[in-house]
Amino acid sequence: MRGSRRYHIEVAVLRVLRPLGIAFFVLITLFPFYYMVLLSMREISEVIESPGQIWIGIGEFTTAAYERVLKPTSEGGEGFVEFLINSAMLGVATVIVTILVSILGAYAVSRLEFFGKRAVHFLFLSVYLFPPILLAIPLFVAFSKLQLRGELWVLVIVYIAQTLPICVYMLRNYFETVPVSLEEAAEVDGATRLQVIRKVTLPLAVPAIAATSLFVFMIAWNEFLFALLFLVEERPNWTVSLGVSQLTNIETPATTLMAGSVILTLPIIVLFLFAERLMTEGLTRGAEKG
């Protein structure tokens, strides 16, 4: 009898706590983003005067911070349009090469037994887990020596190497859901290996490839350390991440910093909401097993 009373109390308490808990988590995740947008649209003088105000009064709304961030430096702005183009090009180039190379690698790892497969697996895992800062030293020194450090395409190569292993594994996870029997049927019909990949495996994996591409694009867009190390002296080549990080000198008001942050974040959130389910399934497949 006592057990059942405890049961009813717990159920009743949880019924109240559960929505409160969910609300708490939504609040702590969303509030910083809301605050970012809010500050980017307020006047800095008003923020300093009433920092506790978390709404915009009627008539206080301003887009001045965005104008300042986006205008070219020749007109007294920060030149973020240029940075947006750099980041987009960097991301697209990284995605194209990484996806093409990793489709082949993922197919091999998921379908074929070959000599050294375990070593390859270990190699990829190491790259996935090793500190980028360790890699930064030799690459920084080498590209300084070659006098290529400020070039955007050098950063593309670095990003490709960094994203290839995770990309191979995401694609492999998807490929393993494509039944082998389909490929075998095509092989019986006389198709070569590359034809099988192109005509059978790839069409079935299009959504997976799209999701993995977006994931790689997000990594390239968000990356900060290598952009900082390689490009900081080459302002025309700055990425958006790097551009925002350089807005922190004393003359730049916090509202401008927040406008830059919004411009940096918005494309990523849009892409993510677009492909969330596919992307997260590709990552967590395998975790279900225990």
């Binding site: 808990g21 074929l112 070959f114 000599f115 190699l123 895992l125 500190p131 980028p132 690459l139 975790a287």
Partner: protein, 330 residues
């Protein structure tokens, strides 16, 4: 399984055996050919540079000499390592890195577990809530670090505004530039490393979605029968959690713990952006960076990085020992 069944066991006809042999060899060759572009990129851009960094860590090299630098030549010395072992800065950074990694990982897992349990059963808007909870993890680190910086700012930050106006703090707290603060609870004052706690809190906030995502995936794959049976037997929700749900989650939690520890141990962006490594938040990664750029000492920075690599090699072995047989990256 199907492929094995097709092959008759002893004794295989010679012709069949040869056909199988060439098939296996053909597969092996195709596999190597297809995986080689990936391997080449990784070897050239990751493996060779890391080996070179190992060599650099045994040399005295300043950045200004780079143009004249001979790639493998030069004198070898233990000076960099010697310097580290005797440096209090290094030991301080090591201590901070461990605190940051252990507490950041723990915080992320606790929050992620709580969130996963809350969102587990369906309700209206569940898909949206799930997406929203992943935002700290997908958003660019530069943007969210600066939002936190502004939120915590003593002059115009929301947190200090609430603290001084509503909670009755005497003065704003410089959360990210105060090395040591005191909290007074019931007349007892305790010293706390304010800035370090803040970067740990940031790390937990930014990474909990990762734990949330994986724990939720595992929860949804768990069989419902066990819980139903426990309920029929009169188990309360907390008992069901302790004895039925949590044991099933231990595997995925251990996996997340190892991965998050490794990544937090490596983390550079978060601390560099929030505090620049100041106010008692210097970690090994920011030390590598400042040796490399501010002090132009390539050898010393490589030595610190090699130390990090050694710790991570141990973690990698732990990972392979416990999770290797599953042959999965996640």
């Amino acid at each position: 399984v199907a492929a094995q069944l097709e092959i008759p066991a002893p004794p295989p006809a010679p012709s069949r055996s040869r056909a199988r042999d060439t098939r296996a060899r053909r597969d092996s060759r195709a596999g190597l050919a297809l995986v080689s572009p990936t391997v080449i990129v990784v070897v050239v851009m990751v493996v060779l540079p890391v080996l070179w960094a190992l060599i650099l860590s045994f040399q005295r090299i300043r950045l200004l000499q780079i143009r004249r630098l001979d790639i493998l030549g030069g004198e070898y010395t233990l000076r960099n390592y010697d310097l580290l072992i005797n440096s209090s800065d290094f030991l301080e950074a090591l201590k901070n890195t461990l605190l940051y990694s252990v507490l950041g990982t723990t915080g992320a897992i606790v929050l992620g577990l709580a969130a996963a349990l809350l969102v587990r059963r369906s309700f209206r808007g569940r898909g949206l809530v799930r997406g929203v909870l992943l935002l700290p993890w997908v958003a660019p680190v530069v943007a969210i670090a600066f939002v936190w910086q502004v939120l915590l700012s003593p002059q115009l930050g929301f947190v200090n505004a609430v603290g001084t106006n509503v909670l009755g703090w005497d003065a704003p707290i410089p959360f990210l530039s105060q090395e040591e603060g005191t909290i007074t609870i019931a007349g007892i004052s305790i010293g706390v490393p304010t800035a370090l706690l803040m970067v740990i809190l940031f790390e937990a906030w930014k990474s909990f979605p990762f734990a949330f995502l994986f724990i939720l995936a595992r929860l949804q794959a768990a069989p419902a029968e066990l819980e139903e049976a426990a309920k029929v037997d009169g188990a309360t929700p907390t008992q069901t959690f302790r004895h039925i749900i949590l044991p099933q989650l231990m595997g995925v939690i251990a996996l997340i713990a190892v991965l998050r520890f490794i990544w937090t141990f490596n983390a550079f962006d978060e601390i560099y952006l929030l505090t620049g490594g100041g106010a008692g938040t210097e970690v090994l990664a920011t030390q590598v960076y400042s040796f490399l750029t501010a002090r132009n000492d390539v050898g010393a920075s490589a030595a610190v990085a090699m130390f990090m690599a050694a710790v991570l090699a141990v973690m990698l072995l732990v990972y392979l020992k416990f999770f290797g047989e599953r042959d999965r990256m996640q």
